[in-house]
Structure formats: structure tokens, C-alpha cells
Symmetry: C2
Subunit: 270 residues, 2 copies
Amino acid sequence: MEGGKGREREGEGGEGRGGQGGGEEPRGRSRAAPDSIKQWKREGKIAVWLHIPILQSSFIASAVSQGFTFHHAEGDSSTLTLWLGDGNSRLPGYATHQLGVAGAVLDNSTGKVLVVQDKNKTTNAWKFPGGLSDPGEDIGDTAVREVFEETGIKSEFKSILSIRQQHRHPGAFGKSDMYIICRLEPSSFNISFCQQECLRCEWMDLDELAKTKDATPITSSVAKLLLYGYREGFDKIDITMKEFSAVYTGLVYKLYHRELPESYKDMGGL
Amino acid sequence: MEGGKGREREGEGGEGRGGQGGGEEPRGRSRAAPDSIKQWKREGKIAVWLHIPILQSSFIASAVSQGFTFHHAEGDSSTLTLWLGDGNSRLPGYATHQLGVAGAVLDNSTGKVLVVQDKNKTTNAWKFPGGLSDPGEDIGDTAVREVFEETGIKSEFKSILSIRQQHRHPGAFGKSDMYIICRLEPSSFNISFCQQECLRCEWMDLDELAKTKDATPITSSVAKLLLYGYREGFDKIDITMKEFSAVYTGLVYKLYHRELPESYKDMGGL
């Protein structure tokens, strides 16, 4: 398994689970708990996962007295963990990043690009429309959806242009933010922008956006990159997408990288 | 603010908070709660955030009876939310992605690349060493750290080669996985691999890795990409990094995209 390793999860040596069902009482509460934990330790277990339905949350305090802490919670249940192994916990953490995606929609026939100014900001800088990914949503789909919601413009995903990583991002509840700007091609051109989110929205000369001081630094960088691609060929700037099937799960995933010449694609391997 | 928008967070019209302090009882429990909620609604508030220290978790059930659900929880506290506005909640979700990073360490003088086989797998496929990002850790730092922990090889970050997004990733607690492979240059060459994590580890001819059937599909793709760069110049494949200061917070962030010619960098803007 790629991308999901590096910590103990498969190698926990068994798990003690309690309170998985809807109304049942979590196992191992009150006096039983310390005994269970001692036994699990004797059996060589190195971690205990405790799943608690939200309505059974009164049992959390007694789990805490045994050393459990929150691993995560969402909707109507929480998950607590207790590390029994040597040293610091090697249990995998929960999701660490939110994902924001913006779309740089360029009209190739006019050289104009779609930009917005956010409402309720102290400085009115131009930027590309975008927003947070919905759970389970692909990068390109977020870009297309957010552009449409904010500006009324329909578009198609072409490539990824840039990726930004920022930690302790404002509004991310102490977590990190991944922010991806995509290149999109418009299929409609009449702006009808969201009055709640945007102060202004317009098709601006890409050349002008690349030069203006009234743009956020990242918008300015990507505008220059897009201008370079517009003039010299988008193959100079595109990070393109290929779809794969994950053999071991049947899940589909998308891989983004620089375009590979055909001679390399055909050289064998998988 | 880029990347952190698209949902209501700043525009909530005020928040009702309870139980922020260490030992104090959350405000608005029992009979008080419905009255508070009615009043907040009258005042035009559209959402309530409730922060509950883990030891006060017995109050969660009464919050649930008022319609609260978990937004997130970590360590010693949980956060619940109640949407009071019209329609579906427009509150921003919690982090949606875990981040895995691997390192493709290529020895330019020999054309060999560092590969491992995971322990405890049904199929023994070659792959690049890597693992999950620690909270707050930069992409390149994760690659360098994981490569060192798994193989004993010291290396330096050069560029991002590929990005994969996969939803409902195994081991991600129902969340999505972002998996980034970086190009690294080695500064040490004697392998001393982690016996707990790896079955095998070796320097393999890049050409051989690109052709073998004994590699995961993503490893095979990236090996071909790396071979193309090795032969024709890494500028063909690199997604390079530039560091920025976020003006509004003073935080530093890293932006990755295709290299831009100097003439474009100097054209004005920010």
C-alpha cells in the first residue's frame, strides 16, 4: 500500500474495540477497564481503539482516566486510542490537510482570464475563483464547481498549474492547507457572479493580471506562468492527469505529472 | 484568504461558545440550552460552535439532544456544531486528506534509484520509500525523513514529480489520501534498511525499474518519468519550489509549479 504507510496500523497485533454497536454499552468501562487493559498488554497488544457513538459520550471520561485520548470524531461518533507499546505512539494520525482548489479559466480566443475579488476583505486583490473540496471530490471537479458557483462560468479541467502547502492555515482548525490552482477552459462566457462571495468578477487581460500590483502573490505568480504557457505552449506549464485502477482495492485514482513522450509510455512495465 | 474559503466561516454572524475553559461547565446545558438556541436564532446567528474538554464529555449527549453533532475531536477536546441557518449547513468541514510522501532517490553518477519492498505484503512489488507526513511538516522534509528512516540513506529535496489523489483510502479512516512523489538527490550511499518496515532495499538500475513488472503501477509510471528526465534533462519533469511569505499572517508557504523563465519572473506584479 503506497501513501498510507510509515506508521503502525496493520501491525497493531490486535485491537480491543468497545461500543461499536448503536445502543450497546462500551465494553470495558468502570472497574473492568483497567483489567482489560492489563490483559491486552499481557497478550502483546500495542494499541486499543475505542469507537463511541455520540449518545454514549458519558463513557468518554472513564476512558480518559485509563489514558485514552481522542483520535478523531465526526458526525455521530468519536474514536479514542490508547497506546500500549513501547515509546511514543506509532499509531497513524487522522487527516492533516484541508484541500482548496481554484480555477484559472483562460479564454484562448481573447487572452482574457476570469478573476474575482472576495467580499469582506481589507484589501481588494484579484484572485482566481475557488474554494474548499467537498469530501471525496476530485481536484478538477472542485475547480469546475467552485468557478461555476462563484462566477456562473462553465468550464472544463485541463491541468494542474501549481500546488501550495501552508501549515496552521487560518480557518483550518489548526490543520494544514493544500491549495491547488488548475487550468480550465471556458465553455460559457457570460458572468453571473455570486453576490454573497464576490465583490467583483471580470474577464481580465492575462497580461494585465500578470503585471498588476492588485493581485495576491500566488495569483501573480500563476498569471505569469499561464502567460508563459499561452505564448509558448501549455505543454511548458501543464501538470497533466492520467486515471489508474488500484489493483488491490478496485478503487480509481488520478495521477498528475508532466506529460511523458509516447516512446517512454510504451517501454514496458505496468 | 486563498484556499480557505468557499464556505461560511467568517460570515457566521457571531458564535455561541461553551465550555472553552478547563474545568468549567459548558454553558447552556440542560434546560438552558433550548432557550439559548432560540435566542441565538432570534439574534440572527446561523451557527453555534461548542468546544468541550474531554473530561466534560458527559455533556455531549445533552448537546446532541439539541441537534449538535461532532465537527472534530483531537487529543483532549472535541468540537460540536449546530447549524441554525437556512438549508444545509454551510460550515466548513474539517481536514479531508492525509498526506503521504515518497522519495525517488536517484544517484546521477550510476543511474541507480533507491527502491524497497514492504514487509507483510502479499505481492512483493518494488516501490519508492515513503510514509505519512507529520503534522506541520513540509512535503520535501517528509520525503527526506522517510527515506532516511526506511533505508538509512541521506538525501536532499529537488522537486515534486507526481501527485495522486485517492478517496476512501485504506487506512485513512474513510478520508482521502494525497500521495506525492519527490525527486531527491542522495548524499550517502550505504543502505541500512529498517527491518520492521522493509523486506528488501536496493539501488536498482532506473532503466530496469521502468521496465519491470515487479513494481506498483505508480512506481512504474514515475520510474519512466524519472528516466526521461535523467536522459533529457530534469527540467522536463520537475515541479519546482519557491518560498513565499503570506502577507496577512506572516506565515511562510511553499509554492510548487513548472519553472518560469527569468523574463517572466521579472515582468512586474508581486
